[in-house]
C-alpha cells in the first residue's frame, strides 16, 4: 500500500472507501457573520445516498442563488466511513469558485477559492467563513 505520510496507511476495512454515515452534513447552514459579502447560506441535501449543495450568496439586491452542485465527501481518517467534510465547484464562466468544507464540533468551516477567468484583472482570492446548522433545538 503506497503512502505519502503515515496517516495514509490503514488496513482495508472492506468498505471500499465509501462513506455511509452522512449525518453531519445535511441541513441548512447559516453564515455566522451577518455582514458577510459572500455566501450567506447553504442547503445540503441528500438523495439516494448522494449529497448536493445549493448555495445562496449576498448580492446588491438580495440573495443570489448559485444553484445546486454535487459534492465530493471526505472522512476524518482513511479507514472511517463518517463524512467530515466536502469539496465542490461552481463554474460561472467569468469565474470559478471552489468550496472546501470541514466540520469542527458542529461548525462548518468553509474555505472558498475564487478564481477569475475574465479580463477584469481581479486578483484570485481566498475566504474562510463559519456556518452553523439550523437545528431548531433552542
Amino acid at each position: 500500500m503506497q503512502f505519502a505520510q503515515l496517516s495514509d496507511r490503514v488496513e482495508n476495512n472492506g468498505s471500499n472507501g465509501a462513506l455511509t454515515d452522512l449525518r453531519a452534513l445535511p441541513g441548512v447552514w447559516i453564515n455566522s457573520n451577518p455582514n458577510t459579502t459572500g455566501i450567506a447560506r447553504m442547503v445540503m441535501s441528500e438523495s439516494d445516498g448522494q449529497l448536493s449543495l445549493q448555495t445562496f450568496a449576498v448580492g446588491p439586491d438580495g440573495l443570489i442563488d448559485w444553484g445546486s452542485t454535487p459534492v465530493k465527501l471526505f472522512a476524518g481518517l482513511p479507514n472511517s466511513q463518517v463524512a467530515a467534510g466536502f469539496t465542490c465547484t461552481y463554474d460561472f464562466g467569468f469565474a470559478e469558485t471552489e468550496l472546501q468544507g470541514m466540520i469542527m464540533k458542529g461548525l462548518l468551516v468553509l474555505a472558498q477559492f475564487h478564481r477569475f477567468k475574465d479580463n477584469s484583472k481581479r486578483a484570485d482570492y481566498f475566504v474562510r467563513e463559519y456556518y452553523a446548522l439550523e437545528h431548531g433545538q433552542y
Binding site: M1, Q2, F3, A4, Q5, L6, S7, D8, V10, N12, N13, G14, S15, N16, G17, A18, L19, T36, T37, G38, I39, A57, V58, G59, P60, I64, W66, K72, L73, F74, A75, G76, L77, P78, N79, S80, Q81, A84, G85, T87, Y90, F92, G93, F94, A95, Q100, M102, A111, F113, H114, D118, S120, K121, R122, A123, D124, Y125, F126, V127, R128
Partner: protein, 148 residues
Amino acid sequence: MDNTEMSCEPLEFKQNGHLDSALLDPTTVSRAEKLIGHWVNTNPDTQGVAECEIQPEGDLFSIRIAGVGEDGPIAWPIARTKPLANLEEEAGQRTIALAATFEFGFMKSEIYIRVNKGVLVIVLFNTFQDDSGRANYLNREFFYNVAI
C-alpha cells in the same frame, strides 16, 4: 447573470465579495512575508506533514512538504502556485493564502495554507486514486516557523 460597474468596466459577479475594490489593488497579493520560511509541525507525534518550506519564485511560491514516514521524512513533489489574496485581515493587514495540489499517482492532496497569528495552518483534502479501498480524508495541521 448580473452586471454592475466598478471603476470604468462592467464586472460580472455572483456575490458582493466579487466587487471588493481590494481585488483590483496590486498590493493585495504582495504581503507574503508571513508565509515564507521553514515551518515545523507543532505536534511532534503527527502522522501527517512533518515540515513545510515556502519560498518565493518570481510571481509564484514554491511549497516543499515532507510527510512523516516509517524511516524518516517522505519528500513530496514540489508544488508551485500563485498567491491568492486573502481578504481577511491578520493583525490589521491583509495577507495572502496559498492553494496547491500534490499529485502522487495513487493519491492527490489538495491543500490550502494560511497564517493565523503567526501559526501556519495547512488543511489537506486527500483523494485516493488507487483501488486500496481507503476513504478520501481531510486533515488540518499547525506549524511554527523555526526561524523565529
